[in-house]
């Protein structure tokens, strides 16, 4: 009696689970390595925030598509004055926030006033500094005036840092994000997952998915098992060393794409002996880029010779500026007054590409006489020591911001490069709108910083996604930080 009853319940459970398996065709569970510290992209620099909410929960006036191009979003169209100083945006009608309130021009003004306020905690405040006024013409028209022309203005409006927030919910977005996007926030189980569900009154085209869960799994072995067991349906960026597990498995597809992450051996240009050009050139000659790419990224990284993304139309291939040549490196070190080399420290943040590259570079540098002491640190300590206090010799880090060559024009940035020529060129670049002219200027800067060997230019990080073979619509490349759910759907 009891036995048959439990058997019947077992069968019922089986039927139920089969039912959920079918119903799952509009749900997705995505594994993500890092849990975001908060969920407000306008108040934090962490990429993990954008991965969950960018274009899913929050939207900006423009958005970046998967090719890196600017598309209209909350602004359905715009007009630019001839001097490039006045932008008039026509806003979409019928847009609501997830709490039901209506989106209008006042929200746009509020958002940008908040970004530009003195007490703003926006991570990219400097990008929006050219905005001098934001005025509401009518509820669906906003006019922005700039203090100088800005060639990247529309792109910058499409970043996660400039998504539109409502005055009523801005303060609580960190824990209870409320935006205008196709997905509304449901729940955040700290240390475990964030759940989103489709926002039915969404103004635009409705996405195919009804429910999305971001599951936080920091350990590669655990992520591997979660994928194999079907606990998650995919991950946007999986550890390259374990990719072969999925490469020949028909149940999965591996998407290898580009990111905006230039990985560099950042060098303290203000500190001796690195203030000596010959020393920096010697280090550039001592780097065996291909070995670093094979060892640290399992061959998935793309070599770079300057601080620019190789897939960008402005990119100039400068990898041969200082080719791998240990003898030339030794000769340059001798010329610089270090015939027996020198000792230095290499501070490494807790990411696999940095820790592995560090060991490989230490071995390569040892061959030309430069002895490196590796110091492993956690992110908080790295941010304080290296980025804030500039207390370092060398470090390895990936700069993941799109089009971030402007950091070479800031003498107070952590690697301390002070070249008036680059600063002048960068100012000219920022004020230029014509594409051909911009390209020329950008390439001039690329060449100067490559010749000056400001930093060791290693490789562009790849994005290596692993997804269930039946999933479609994921971004192969990552022209901007985020995992955009808009087009993801299950194939029949």
């Amino acid at each position: 009696m009891t036995f048959s009853k439990s058997l019947a319940m077992g069968v019922a459970a089986l039927v139920l689970s089969a039912g959920t398996a079918l119903a799952q065709s509009t749900e997705i569970r995505i594994g993500v390595a890092l849990e975001p510290p908060a969920l407000d992209p306008t108040a934090g620099a962490a990429e993990a925030i954008d991965i969950v909410v960018y274009q899913n929960v929050f939207e900006g006036l423009t958005r970046i598509d998967q090719t890196g191009a600017v598309q209209p979003d909350l602004a359905e169209s715009w007009a630019v004055s001839d001097d490039g100083l006045t932008y008039t945006f026509k806003l979409h009608d019928g847009v609501t926030f997830h709490d039901g309130s209506t989106f209008d021009a006042d929200d746009v003004k509020f958002t940008f006033d908040r970004i530009l306020a003195d007490d703003s905690v926006n991570a990219q405040k400097a990008l929006y500094a050219p905005i001098s006024t934001v005025s509401v013409i009518d509820p669906l028209t906003v006019e922005m005036t700039l203090s100088r022309p800005d060639g990247l203005f529309l792109f910058n409006l499409g970043r996660g840092d400039a998504v539109i927030v409502a005055p009523e919910s801005a303060e609580t977005n960190a824990t209870q994000p409320i935006g205008t996007g196709p997905f509304a926030f449901v729940q955040w189980n700290r240390g475990s997952r964030v759940m989103l569900e489709r926002y039915e009154p969404y103004w635009g085209e409705k996405p195919a998915l009804t429910k999305a869960t971001y599951v936080f799994i920091s350990d590669t072995a655990t992520m591997t098992n979660a994928l194999l067991a079907g606990d998650i349906d995919g991950t946007n960026n999986f550890a390259a060393e374990a990719l072969p597990v999925f490469e020949n498995n028909p149940q999965f597809k591996v998407l290898v794409g580009s990111t905006e992450g230039e990985t560099i051996l950042a060098t303290n240009n203000k500190k001796s002996p690195f203030d000596n050009l010959k020393v920096r050139q010697a280090m550039a000659h001592a780097l065996n880029r291909q070995e670093i790419i094979d060892g640290a990224t399992y061959g998935y990284g793309v070599p770079i010779g300057t601080h620019f993304a190789p897939h960008h139309p402005y990119y100039l291939d400068l990898t041969d500026t200082y080719p791998f040549d240990p003898e030339a490196a030794k000769a340059l070190l001798a010329e610089a007054g270090y015939p027996d080399g020198f000792s230095a420290t290499l501070k490494l943040p807790p990411v696999a590409y940095a820790r592995l590259s560090g060991q490989i570079i230490a071995s390569e540098f040892a061959k030309v006489g430069i002895k490196l002491e590796l110091i492993n640190m956690e992110w908080a300590q790295w941010l304080e020591d290296v980025l804030t206090n500039k207390d370092f010799d060398l470090t390895i880090v990936s700069h993941v911001e799109p089009f971030d060559i402007g950091i070479y024009a800031d003498p107070n940035y952590y690697f301390g490069y002070d070249n008036p020529e680059v600063q002048a060129l960068n100012e000219q670049l920022n004020a230029t709108i014509d594409d051909a002219e911009r390209k020329t200027l950008a390439q001039k800067i690329e060449t100067i910083i490559a010749k000056d060997a400001v930093n060791g230019y290693l490789f562009e990080l790849a994005q290596t996604g692993v997804w269930n073979a039946k999933l479609e619509g994921m971004w192969q490349n990552a022209p901007i930080e985020g995992v955009v759910l808009r087009d993801i759907h299950w194939a029949e």
């Binding site: 350990d219 590669t220 072995a221 591997t224 550890a239 060393e241 374990a242 072969p244 597990v245 070995e291 670093i292 094979d294 060892g295 820790r355 592995l356 560090g358 060991q359 490989i360 230490a362 071995s363 390569e364 040892a366 590796l374 492993n376 640190m377």
Partner: protein
Amino acid sequence: MIPLLRGHPRLLVGAGISLLLALAGLVSLVWTPYPIEQVVVAERFLGSGPQHWLGTDHLGRDMLSLIMSGTLTSFLVAGLAAGIGIGIGVPMGLAAALWGGWVEWLVLRVSDLTFAFPAVIVAILIATLVGPGESNAIFAIGIFNIPVFARVARGGALTLVGQDYVAAARLAGRNRIAIAWLHLLPNIGSLIIVQGTIQLSLGILAEAGLSYIGLGTQPPATSLGLMLRDAQSLFLIHPWLSIVPGLAIVVIVIALNMAGDGLRDALDPRLRRQELGHVAG
């Protein structure tokens, strides 16, 4: 020494293997087949072969060289940690046995308190204060060892303080420190050596654990636990990289335990039934 070994095959095998491994570790100070910091990415993931007897790891480093060097780290950390335990724990235990009263109470309560914090907790504390590293592991395991030796020393000494020769020494006017040094310490020596061997094997296990979770040895130095950590995400593709250091840890720990058991039997048959093992947390 030889007759002592003959009657105890476990001691012979255990001590033999332990000494051999310790020797291999010591050799790594002056010679390894390949330098351990030499990265040759083009030659990574090689299986075992004439060039590299145990193959190469994910950075093309020779596994045999890494194992030799890692074994040295293990013995060094566990040995120094046992040294800390003996150096502080034994005097504490002797003092407790000789003075009694509040001294004994204090030693026992301090022991209880230290036992309450596993080595990992102590290691996390030290890592937060001064950053992770080998010395971190040595102190964390060393602190854990102190109460173990304090209890063994006190237990051994308590059975001796009532003996006539100790009473005679006291009547002859020797102070307590001299009694401890001349009469108690030599007689509990065998207990300490046996316990030391067992703590050595537990220390090696603890060091591997701490390095595995990233609180112990840091690259480019190596340890068996760190090798396991590096190999973890590669386990499904290159299981060999995990099996080699894993087996090395197992062999060292079993050999040391056999040596410890054998020593106990050989040095003091009366202790045969007494439980000496303590489990590291």
